[in-house]
Symmetry: C2
Subunit: 506 residues, 2 copies
């Protein structure tokens, strides 16, 4: 009875957190402007209820009983995994004083206003006090959470459990070693033609085509929907309702299309979780207090990047689907063949802005941020010296001069909302996608499917090896079960080398 009662209680926590996500979706997609203030209060209240319900005496009593009841089961049984996760999450939350959570939330809402103004005016000095306070607060958080070697490790725990400054170093080194030579070689090559993408395409046709492609890849619209927003995102309220948004851009057509495939990749991770895990801790991030089934932010990003880039921007994909795109936009794409289109959507152009960067330069934006964040947190880099350090890295990695802080250190919203430690997931996602996709393609059904524009076997492979497990295994366990080893950058570097050598005739 203890275990089942614990599950029911965790179901209530999931209900509360799914409701927070629902309110958040509405706030970003549907809400009239006047609703913002009271909506923020409602979301904050539900989140506090979820946290308090999780750490309550009654939950802990049920957890004790559940642990006793399941003590004789194997360590890796679902039951004991769930008990261990609930225990871990309760310990985590009890280590962080409510007062600190409160201060962090308050800082988030204040900081964003100051940041937005500072960014608009490219005035780092105006933002520096917010950043200092954010770092101080995150250092406090790190001390509460605990860590072995580096306080930044504690901050990554919520997003990428098990990752550390130490474990990221060899990964980053391998990426630099593998990708920088490609970038240098491409610098010498002529740019592909992209002019035909730099114009408006009718919005409704773009959306309809993007949704068709997302469906073909496996996104289930019986349990989802696509809307337009300024900032695209994916969000779920159990696997039964997983929504995505995209942005349509008059200056760069691929934005809406690949944005949709990206979010659809995230969405499928949620949609194809084992239905038996619905409302359980295996579909709830009890540490981050977020209703999500993916095991880490990096694992989640592996699915979005895989479907957006490694499938969606592949030559094979467009050889099979370009006809449909051309039929949809016969005027806009008049005279453009599939080869020209494929090169254009994979154009490499080092730029200053992370969210606009291409597949080959993206990881450098991440490495730069992770290294600087870790140095800021351990105090080896002072806030006052940050812009200079940022600009030096930009020069080193991408050969670019940063003309002002608006296009440099002030570009991201993260720090202004009090968040530190979230950046590594993007690169881990890329690497993991490369590893999973290479493995998946060794399955004859998957590779035959890809050659026939039948994406069901690929989606099923991902469901079998990734989606269905929800939070049952750690990211490393998941990778070991799927590919026989932990995170390994080699397949990702191979993939980039092969692909960009072909595009740029290296």
């Amino acid at each position: 009875m203890g275990y089942n009662a614990l599950l029911e209680r965790m179901g209530e926590v999931n209900d509360l957190l799914c409701s927070v996500s629902m309110l958040s979706w509405d706030a970003r997609v549907m809400m009239p402007p006047g609703g913002a203030d009271t909506r923020a209060r409602q979301m904050a209240t539900l989140k506090v209820f979820a946290r308090n319900h999780l750490v309550s005496d009654e939950t802990r009593r049920l957890l004790d009983a559940a642990e006793a009841e399941t003590a004789s089961l194997p360590d890796d049984s679902v039951e004991r995994t769930i008990c261990a996760q609930v225990r871990e999450a309760i310990d985590y939350h009890l280590r962080i004083p409510a007062e600190l959570v409160q201060r962090r939330a308050e800082m988030g809402s204040k900081g964003q206003h100051i940041w937005a103004k500072a960014r608009a005016e490219s005035d780092f000095a105006a933002f520096a006090p917010v950043l200092k306070a954010t770092l101080e607060l995150n250092r406090e958080m790190a001390e509460c959470i605990g860590y072995e070697r580096h306080p930044y490790d504690a901050l990554m725990y919520r997003f990428e459990p098990g990752e550390s400054v130490a474990s990221l170093q060899p990964l980053f080194a391998a990426l630099r070693e593998g990708i920088l030579p490609l970038l240098r070689a491409i610098e010498e090559k002529p740019h592909p033609r992209v002019d035909f993408l730099e114009r408006p395409y009718p919005t409704d046709k773009q959306l309809a085509f993007a949704l068709d492609m997302a469906r073909a890849l496996g996104y289930d619209t019986h349990r989802g929907r696509l809307d337009l927003t300024v900032h695209p995102f994916e969000i779920s309220f159990t696997r039964n309702d997983v929504r995505i948004t995209t942005r349509v851009n008059g200056e760069w057509m691929p934005k809406g299309l690949f944005g949709t495939l990206h979010e659809a990749g995230h969405a499928m991770y949620e949609q194809y979780c084992d239905p038996a895990y619905t409302r359980t801790p295996l579909a709830t991030d009890l540490v981050g207090l977020y209703a999500v089934g993916g095991v880490s932010f990096g694992a989640h990003e592996s699915q979005s990047r895989l479907f957006e880039n490694q499938v969606g921007r592949s030559r094979e994909f467009w050889e099979l689907n370009y006809g449909a795109l051309h039929d949809t936009f016969p005027d806009e794409l008049a005279g453009i063949d599939v080869e020209t289109f494929w090169r254009a959507i994979n154009r490499v152009r080092p730029g200053l802005i992370r969210v606009e960067s291409d597949e080959l330069t993206y990881d450098f934006h991440i490495m730069l941020r992770v290294d600087l964040e870790a140095a800021l947190i351990d105090g080896s880099l002072k806030v006052a010296d940050l812009p200079e350090a940022w600009n030096a890295k930009m020069k080193e990695y991408l050969g670019l001069d940063v003309p002002n802080d608006r296009l440099g250190v002030l570009q991201d919203v993260h720090w202004s909302s009090g968040q530190v430690g979230t950046f590594c997931n993007y690169t881990i996602g890329n690497v993991m996608a490369g590893q999973l996709f290479a493995e998946a393609k060794t399955d004859p059904d998957v590779s035959r499917g890809l050659a026939e524009a039948n994406y069901v076997p690929l989606r099923e492979w991902m469901t079998e090896h990734v989606h269905r497990h929800g939070r049952r295994y750690t990211r490393e366990q998941l990778l070991e079960r799927a590919t026989g080893r932990g995170l390994d950058p080699a397949p990702y570097v191979d993939y980039l080398t092969t692909k960009y050598s072909a595009i740029y005739d290296l």
Copy 2:
């Protein structure tokens, strides 16, 4: 400190209930079909949390402290009113066992499936067991809630506090006496022409025009939005976000337009509540566990009916606004003058279906239901005898023969979801609207405004006398403050007599 702490706690209850409403809006307007099951769980969980938070030991401790702290204030002070309402709501919920609430909720979801099938097949016998169980459950509820004279009084308490079977009798008698002669007289008269309304009008133009009119009446779209749904409704998540929906019908154009004005009337009650009452019990139905600022369902209906019928279907309104409608639909309304249009939208035609009935016959559908419900609850009418009793009343009031139960006793969803006691509000709303509108028009600013298509003074009058008070006063107190007396059917009967005498040349 006790009072402020109590207010903050009630703010959390409001946050939870606003979130339930948000989830409900989404479920009815945006949700993909797959999301239904888990959404229902989420809403149920939030509602249980709201109820438990309200009746918790901590709330009761704070309430004791708040009562002590505010003991020296006047009885009718905001502070003591709030304390009394919280006390009353806690007492109400503690009288109803959780097990009974649970059974009622379960019956609701099961009953609706059985009802839908029974209605489709016009098979009352198949629905009878559900109705029997519903009545049994509601009798249990009535015993828990308590009443002085009739168990039905206890069931109306949630929707129309203070109303009773005894108090409704003279009201209904006055309405029958006032309206039946009009109906009988109209039977002898020729029908107005309505053919030009019985065809499709372009949906987007209908919506745009309806929203323009709703805005003109005072609906604030900075804090609201209009969507299309099968069943129109109004819902709010604090006064800062009050949404309406409407239905566009290819067979009867007035549906979408007047549906919008109806829901806009509801919405304004919420939007113009005193901002100081936001998140307080004066904007929360703590008994019904519903985030609503109106003091009773009848009071709420007074605002929807006033703006839909008494303003929106008046000759004066169309003399000023028909030009704009005609400009919007020049082909559809070609050759139709304002007089013809106004008569058409006020066409009287006794029919079997409540939700399709006109202003003059509507109250008979209500009286029929209230009388039968009360008799079913006190046992003087048996379920088996219900269809016959229904059909006899239909004949008596509207002169109609009911050909089958689908068009008779099986038409409403209410009983299948376990609800008894909700019908009287509609008629109380009509009566109250007549009383308030007559009083408002004695204000020269209001009547001058109406004559100039300036609806601001009317809306401001309603805000001053109704909206801003939220749940501060009882319905009867509100009426006494606004009109010098309690609910009085005379102005409503006068209004109907004058209007329909003009339309039908009586």
